[in-house]
Symmetry: C2
Subunit: 143 residues, 2 copies
DNA sequence: CCAAAATCGTTAGCCGGCTAACGTATACTC
DNA sequence: GAGTATACGTTAGCCGGCTAACGATTTTGG
């Protein structure tokens, strides 16, 4: 029955969303900003478009999230030196400081979510999640 | 590493959300309305509060979703016969007609999402999702 | 070299989750 | 019976996903 899967999935999603929000809020970071931070820690100065590509998000989602992070003092917008169409998102000092704190929160949150699963289960679980994503994003006729 | 789990989970969630929206839109139903429909097909005339309890949603979420469904002609609000605080949400003819169509879409969507998993994998997957929900909604100190 | 096409970021607006604050109606307590 | 407490639904407003439409800039082609 498909309904059982749907119910379980969306209930887990809501629990994850609530727990994430609660874990990150302490540091002045909202749930959706985590993804941008991860990418910018790895490579500072990315553009909204590049971030959207890497994260699989729509560009306006990144734009608005970046605006909120700018208001929160986590990053700032800088003009691109050679292409006036582009905007570079650069972390502030505070943005860099968050790396350690947020990484710890992510680990803690994931550990709590997966606490009753052993290592083999966790790997299977992540594999299932990746399968779902692939199955849904692959065009119908394709292998 | 917690990041891998987070990334896989949220990517799967976005794929599910997009696919759901696309599957239901054909019938004039938006993604979030599906949950109310399931409950009302089982028992018509439930109140917003009761629906929220059964679905684990916040009451205002149900209220607003119901308003949109009312605008779409899927249900209507009726006063409760004995308690003027309560509102009964009753499906229209169209709301009942959707049951067959939507159930088929849910099955099709779930089948596509899980297409590369055999029965044992699916059961394990649903089990993992339920574990995550339980682990995150159980207060910290509890067993 | 200049006009048309493509690229980029932003804005506006939809849906779906949430909390906080409010008004109304019922229930409880004295 | 009156006054307080509780329960219910709605409204307002936040965040995070999306698409559509726009203005500005760069690239391309004639």
């Amino acid at each position: 029955m498909g309904g059982e899967f749907q119910a379980a999935f969306w209930a887990a999603k809501r629990a994850m969303a609530t727990a994430s929000e609660e874990a990150y809020r302490r540091h002045g970071v909202r749930a959706g900003q985590q993804f941008l931070l991860y990418e910018l820690w790895a490579e500072d100065g990315l553009t909204p478009g590049e971030l959207a590509r890497r994260l699989g998000l729509a560009v306006p989602t990144v734009t608005r999230t970046a605006t909120r992070m700018e208001s929160a003092g986590i990053l700032r917008r800088e003009p691109h030196p050679t292409d006036a169409r582009l905007v570079r998102l650069r972390l502030t000092e505070r943005g860099h400081e968050l790396q350690e704190l947020m990484t710890a929160e992510v680990v803690r949150l994931s550990e709590k979510a997966l606490s009753t699963l052993d290592q083999a289960d966790r790997e299977r679980f992540i594999g299932y999640l990746n399968e779902v994503r692939k199955n849904l994003t692959t065009p119908d006729g394709m292998t």
